[in-house]
Amino acid sequence: MASSRKITLRSSDGESFEVEEAVAVESQTIKHMIEDDCADNAIPLPNVTSKILAKVIEYCKKHVDASKAEDRVNDEDLKAWDAAFIKVDQVDQATLFDLILAANYLNIKSLLDLTCQTVADMIKGNLFPVRNEWLNFTFSIANRELVLVCLTEWVAHRRLFCS
């Protein structure tokens, strides 16, 4: 394609990022804003910090490049890149959540899929240290009843299948 338009995105802390339109419209939210002609100057994104915005742009760029490369990038290679991209953040839960929030706000389905699936797998694999946290501060009298109720299901299940 011919040189596409450049779109400026401004993060919540004032930093500006210039990206190609093809990359920017990976986000449905930004896409609608462009279509509605709100993109004359920079598009403000008050809910996304520059750190996160940088990562989101990195992700979108990679995916746009992957889909329009002459020799189509192998799907597996892309998946491996995704895994590496997100693995960096496994260590820092906060960034992972920020990415989820950003993907949700910016409406980037593939990024949302990736991040949410990661968290889901971490819950499954007990890699989620947050568990202990929420178990403690949300564990109140009300939840005791709740846990009992969920326990009843569990106990019934165990009785049924564990002799």
């Binding site: 839960q93 959540f97 949410c116 699936q117 889901a120 178990l135 969920c150 326990l151 049924l160 564990c162």
Partner: protein, 643 residues
């Protein structure tokens, strides 16, 4: 678990060590209390520009960094990618917010990769259920009926076989709302039977989701749910093709439209029961029966504003009906019954109940008798018009009738009763009269040559005016009686009963004489001797003049007796001892409740008798101590003891 501890790169995380080894040690959830100490060290990696404000309260900051800070839609996206039911159940235990989010996930929104699950090793002692057959069943009552519980059931039963049957019995304080039912709708697509009673806050919103989500619904039972309207019934009719059984009671929001929809779409409907719905009228019943009547086998209508039209339609269209019950239909007249009978559509009808219908006149009932050639059981209650003549013509027209029960038919007199018994042909096996007050003087001098050989069971309850002479006359006409029930009849004395006992050639099997206060030991002894080889059950509840002599006679003679009830009789320890000393008696059920003369001294006798007993009733035996009862409970472990 060590992975949990080193996520931040350092091991100095929790001072308390691992709080729980695995989420499956559910018992440890409960052992956690507010005393558990959680220590959060400051993060080693500094944050660049945190969107969240650093606050004094480290705990608060941690909370904001965690998963709790995500909005509902993001949590929802995470939850719906959780790969298994165990994980979902564990997350459901965290907080009400998480539980409600999880319960809102529809099965088709779950995007876990099933093939991956099968490769993962299953834990020891657990089975992976691949199909949701819906063989689990849950029942919530009263205080326990809450939305939270329903959400927990929805999440918990999802991959453990699926919920098949759900029954909720609410109360005035019931806290079940549309939210809870929505959770069930999302989580239990295998639901087959739903029963909702007394839920004032549940309305169409939640139930429409059930109709849309639970396509396997077969049985629906609604009682006193005023907010449910026709919209729900229409949705169920359209979405649940397997619907077999519908029962609606006291739902003021349900009217004709819903029933018409049921008739239109539910061709498999077998049983309907509609009671006390003021908005239901002819249009609904006609619409239902004329379209779906072909497969219906059970129809029950009670306290509805229907007229002759509906009854006529039943008579013409409900060709497969076997059980029909019409109660308190005040706008149905004799004409309706006549048309129903003459429709000749009720060829398969076997059992008919007509209660408190003013259309149950002589003419109406006779046409029914004619129109239902296979009618075997007939129960007529509260008919102010049924007369002796009508009864006789009824019995002549209903040639297949095996069992007739009349209750509160006060126009029937003894003449009608005897006419009935004489003219009943050879099919009538069982006759029961309850609360019929029309029996007065009768001239028994008429020669009675005919006999009713088929009558096996006679039951007369609380019919004042039924005296010895009646009993004797009946006994002479019906020599093959095997079951006799005479309860609450003060007019029966030893003489009458004695003559009856002598007439019964076939040998009595079950005798119930409750409340016949004028009977004495003499007649019991006679009975024991005459029917020693056949008597299996003897109920003498409330026969206050019967005492130990009767028991002695029973003990000496009765070989097959297994059920003996001598509650409130004048028996004492010696009678029980006699009973115990019998070598041939193997009682299974014994009741001596209310016998104040039975004391602790009969304990050995009770123990001996108790070896074969399955049920023993010692309630209100004031002279038996609780210690004796405890001893009995210990020794007679097979026996169900009421004390």
């Amino acid at each position: 678990m060590s992975k949990v501890l080193c996520f931040a790169g350092g091991d100095d995380f929790y001072s308390g060590g691992s709080i729980y080894p695995s989420p499956k040690e559910a018992s440890l959830f409960l052992s956690l209390g507010n005393h558990v100490d959680v220590y959060f060290p400051p993060r080693k990696r500094s944050r660049i520009s945190a969107p969240f404000v650093f606050s004094e309260d480290l705990f608060e900051q941690k909370r904001q960094d965690t998963i709790e800070a995500l909005p509902d839609e993001c949590l929802f996206e995470i939850f719906r990618r959780l790969p298994g039911g165990q994980e979902r159940s564990a997350c459901a235990c965290v907080s009400k917010r998480w539980l409600m989010l999880l319960s809102n996930i529809c099965p088709n929104e779950l995007s876990c990769d099933k093939s991956q699950n099968n490769l993962a090793p299953t834990n020891v002692g657990e089975e992976v259920i691949s199909e949701d057959d819906g063989f689990l069943s849950r029942s919530l009552e009263g205080k326990k009926a809450t939305d939270i519980r329903l959400a927990a059931i929805a999440v918990g039963t999802a991959d453990r076989g699926g919920l098949g049957k759900l029954s909720i019995r609410g109360s005035k304080l019931s806290r079940v709302t549309n939210l809870g039912l929505g959770a069930i709708a999302h989580g239990c697509p295998s639901l087959r039977s739903l029963s909702l009673w007394h839920l004032p806050f549940v309305g169409d919103e939640g139930l429409l989701e059930v109709a849309n989500g639970c396509h396997q619904l077969e049985k629906l039972d609604l009682c006193q749910c005023p907010k449910i309207t026709d919209k729900f019934l229409v949705a169920v009719a359209k979405n649940c093709p397997n619907l077999i059984d519908i029962s609606i009671e006291s739902c003021s929001g349900i009217g004709n439209e819903g029933l018409v929809a049921l008739g239109q779409f539910c061709q498999n409907l077998k049983s309907i029961s509609i009671k006390n719905c003021p908005s239901v009228g002819d249009q609904g019943i006609v619409g239902l029966i004329s379209r779906a009547g072909g497969a219906l086998t059970k129809v029950k209508l009670q306290a509805l504003n229907v007229t002759d039209v509906s009854i006529a339609v039943i008579g013409h269209y409900a060709a497969a009906v076997t059980d029909l019950s019409l109660t308190s239909l005040h706008n149905v007249t004799e004409r309706g019954f006549w048309v129903m009978g003459n429709g000749h559509g009720l060829q398969r009808l076997r059992s008919l109940i007509v209660a408190a219908c003013r259309g149950a006149t002589d003419l109406g009932l006779e046409s029914l008798g004619k129109g239902c050639p296979n009618l075997k059981q007939l129960y007529i209650s509260s008919s102010a018009f049924l007369s002796d003549g009508g009864l006789v013509s009824l019995i002549k027209s209903a040639r297949s009738l095996e069992s007739l029960q009349l209750e509160e038919c006060h126009r029937i007199t003894l003449s009608g009763l005897f006419g009935l018994v004489i003219d009943c042909g050879d099919k009538l096996k069982s006759l029961a009269l309850t609360n019929c007050w029309g029996f007065k003087e009768f001239d028994f001098s008429a020669p009675q040559l005919s006999s009713c050989k088929s009558l096996h069971s006679l039951s007369v309850r609380n019919c004042p005016g039924f005296v010895d002479a009646c009993l004797v006359a009946l006994g002479k006409i019906c020599p093959h009686l095997q079951q006799v029930e005479l309860s609450g009849l003060a007019g029966i004395t030893d003489d009458g009963l004695l003559q009856l006992l002598e007439c019964c050639e076939a040998g009595l099997v079950k005798v119930n004489l409750s409340g016949c206060i004028n009977l004495t030991d003499q007649v019991v002894s006679a009975m024991a001797k005459l029917h020693s080889r056949t008597l299996e059950a003897l109920i003498l509840d409330g026969c206050t003049k019967i005492g130990d002599l009767g028991l002695l006679a029973i003990a000496e003679n009765c070989q097959l007796l297994s059920d003996l009830d001598v509650s409130k009789c004048a028996i004492s320890d010696s009678g029980l001892t006699a009973l115990a000393s019998s070598s041939q008696l193997n009682l299974q059920v014994l009741s001596v409740s209310g016998c104040s003369l039975v004391s602790d001294n009969c304990l050995p006798a009770l123990k001996k008798v108790g070896h074969t007993l399955l049920g023993l009733n010692l309630q209100h035996c004031t002279a038996i101590s609780s210690r004796s009862v405890d001893l009995l409970l210990e020794e007679l472990w097979r026996c169900d003891i009421l004390a």
